[in-house]
């Protein structure tokens, strides 16, 4: 199916929706592609049991602005500039655009420790997403661990839904957190959010310099061994929500040849990448959270629609948010003890069940892929890549299409015409 847009946005989270609305307000033809059944991204995950998110408001707004939303659809290839191929549940889209805005968001970083593959060990955002999608959590014993502000937001959310949160383990020191909190004070809105969070979290034991050493359980999670300021402790547990801050989703940006700096997509003042006609907004430019995403989205939307004067007033605020993103990265950087957790038989690549012991023998990401098939499974290295980068300092290679697994038939859809001589030579079948 062919579709043509003045501005095409990939990703329907806050940045994407803000970009779509911004561009559409300028009167241009806007399309938005998202891989979930309903827009909202992760933070505003919607359509499930929890209908309290802003996503439905935004969805109505996009509808009234006549943005064409294409849900349950993933971009997998870009054979030439201004053209993308995306796969939906039962069709393939050929999407032509004048300007493209990448709002592909971020995913959690997972680090490996013994038992992390046991069912009910999930990401922090992962468990939250499951609860938003109907997982009963009331009365369940939950431990939250890892690093980053997401842990606090998840703790508050789960608590509100009846989870019994026995502990929140943050690997940074208390000092780092205090420093971060002081930084927040410079941004009143964030400070207010933090204070409100503090109320929501009252009573939850917070442990700093703390992380999960091992998860235990036969078929599902039963207990955790945690390190708290050097002390080892084992606690019974039904769910572990564990994530180590966020990794930007830059695969599509890489595929398009956008400059990437330090894992983030390089953008100029108006959110334009190094590839002309391609913009980027939100987490892929720097993990800054909701406010940054909304601002950047809006700026990108106006810029892409050619209305730079509408974007200009927002730049200063956006720059402040950028600083916040940098501060987040600095505050929540990973401590070296986390590299020591994996044992020889701890699985690192979950798609192919490749253990740490086997990976240690490889000298590079490429070698690991070739001899162990680490990173060659359907997640295409999105889970094990950040883990191996942290463990071994491996840099993953360039991205190739398909940047997401697709149906076999989708590749047929991307060809223009079959060359006549090919069908003659290829055998006697009529």
């Amino acid at each position: 199916m062919h579709k043509q847009f003045d501005v095409l946005i990939i990703g329907g989270g806050p940045a994407g929706m803000a970009a779509a609305a911004g561009a559409a307000e300028c009167g241009v033809r806007v399309g938005l592609v998202d891989d979930n059944p309903r827009v909202g991204g992760q933070i505003w995950r919607s359509g499930g049991i929890d209908t309290s998110s802003p996503a439905s408001e935004w969805a109505s707004k996009l509808k009234s602005l006549r943005v064409e939303v294409i849900p349950e659809t993933r971009v997998f290839h870009s054979p030439e500039p201004q053209k993308l191929f995306a796969e939906g549940p039962s069709e393939i889209y050929e999407l032509l655009y004048k300007k493209l805005i990448l709002a592909t968001g971020a995913r959690e970083r997972f680090l490996c420790f013994p038992g992390w593959t046991i069912p009910n060990v999930m990401g922090a955002g992962g468990l939250q997403a499951m609860v938003k999608s109907g997982l009963p959590i009331a009365g369940e014993r939950v431990v939250i661990a890892g690093t980053g502000p997401l842990l606090l937001a998840v703790a508050a959310y789960l608590r509100k839904h009846g989870a019994l949160i026995s502990l929140l383990c943050e690997q940074v020191s208390l000092g780092s957190m205090i420093g971060f909190a002081c930084r927040l004070a410079r941004q009143p809105k964030k400070l207010a959010q933090a204070l409100s969070l503090r109320k929501d979290l009252a009573g939850i034991p917070l442990a700093f310099n703390s992380w999960v050493v091992e998860a235990h359980g036969e078929k599902t999670l039963e207990a955790l061994t945690v390190s708290r300021d050097g002390q080892i402790q084992t606690i019974p547990c039904d769910y572990l929500a564990c994530g180590f801050h966020l990794v930007p989703n830059v695969e599509l940006a890489e595929l398009l040849g956008c400059g990437i700096n330090n894992s983030y997509v390089e953008v100029d003042n108006l959110q334009q990448t190094t590839v002309s006609n391609v913009f980027c907004a939100g987490e892929p430019t720097g993990v800054g959270g909701l406010d940054a995403s909304l601002l950047e989205g809006k700026i990108a939307g106006y810029s892409a629609a050619g209305r730079i004067e509408l974007a200009k007033p927002l730049l200063k605020q956006r720059d402040r948010q950028r600083q916040f993103a940098l501060a987040l990265d600095r505050t929540f950087s990973l401590r070296p003890e986390l590299k020591e957790l994996a044992k020889a038989d701890t699985i690192v690549c979950r798609c192919e069940d490749v253990t740490y012991g086997r990976l240690k023998r490889a000298n590079s990401w490429r070698e690991a892929k070739l001899y162990t098939r680490c990173g060659m499974g359907p997640c295409q290295g999105r889970i094990c890549g950040p883990a191996t980068e942290f463990l071994f300092n491996w840099k993953s290679e360039s991205t190739r299409p398909p940047i997401s697994p697709v149906r076999f038939e989708s590749f047929l859809a991307i060809s223009e015409n079959l060359a006549p001589e090919l069908s003659e030579i290829s055998g006697g079948n009529p």
């Binding site: 070698e367 359907p378 190739r400 398909p402 697994p405 149906r407 076999f408 590749f411 060809s415 055998g427």
Partner: protein
Amino acid sequence: MSPAVHDVLIVGAGIVGAACAYQCAREGMRVAVLDKGMIGGGATAAGMGHIVVMDDSEPQFALTRYSRQLWQEMRPELPNDVEYEQCGTIWVAADEEEMMEVKRKESFYQKRGVATEVIDSSTLENYEPHLRKGLAGGLVVPEDDVLYAPCAAKFFLEQAKASGAQIDLGSAVLKLGNGHVTTASTEFSAAIVVNAAGTWAAELTPGLNIKKRKGHLLITDRYPGFIKHQLVELGYLKSAHSTTADSVAFNLQPRRTGQILIGSSRQYGAEHKEVDNEILASMLQRAQEYMPELSGLSTIRAWTGFRAATPDKLPLIGPWPEDERLFLATGHEGLGITTSLGTARLLVDQIVGRTSAIPVEPYLPARTFSEHAHA
């Protein structure tokens, strides 16, 4: 690695170079192996990993059959990550004309002691239910195999190393000849140098007529039992035959993982490694004609590779007439993995000067030499 005198210095740590190193080390030679990249990082990494007997010509048959036997003898030693499977091949006949070809092949193989089974349409359906209905039948070659070649190459080199071989990876060879090999940092000398550099062989030995033949592959997620044999259309032979045109052919391979490897394509003159959308789509369309149910399968990766092709489709195994200390072990096109073990034997036989199990004349580099223009 400090300069030292070796008996044999092999340039190229692909499956062929690795097999040669293994054999040389086994025979007590002091071996060194150089490669500009990783072990098995070239065609070895990109290819399908099949071990097949082929009847394109007597010499091709002799070498593939000899090699397949050597693989079968080696099987008990191969580690798990080599994923050796005797899944067999079915040459699929689409119509009665191709069934005649099946019968011809059967007769050819039977005379030479290779086990085969001619199957009709309903048996084919039985063996491989996902093939489309209405195919005429096929030829089963039950002793053909598949394996994961990069790990096989690694295994050979580990074995060679255990016998004292030196492996030097990550150094590109700039020049070789007359018993010397030069990299950016060092010069090595050896009694014999072996050019096993595959698609790079002609860069190192001017006058070698080796062309790169690009291929495409696509791999699916795991669908255990979806196919049980390697499946090849008889038109594959037409595709492999052509020396000038681009072509595709139906060729599927089951991996032990349950993933399905989908090929195959051949192009001349394509230099860039990016996937060629048109060729890929054409290859997949061909595959879909034989197996419509492929359409909905989840596919994870697409990639390309380059085969080292010679004009007469036979590899070059033996001394290079212009240099008495240079041997070649290259030009294997799509049969590098299959014939790696046979190549290693023939090479070492010639180095030590003994008669090989099969005649070596068809593979001698000297055969091309009369047409080769002197530099």
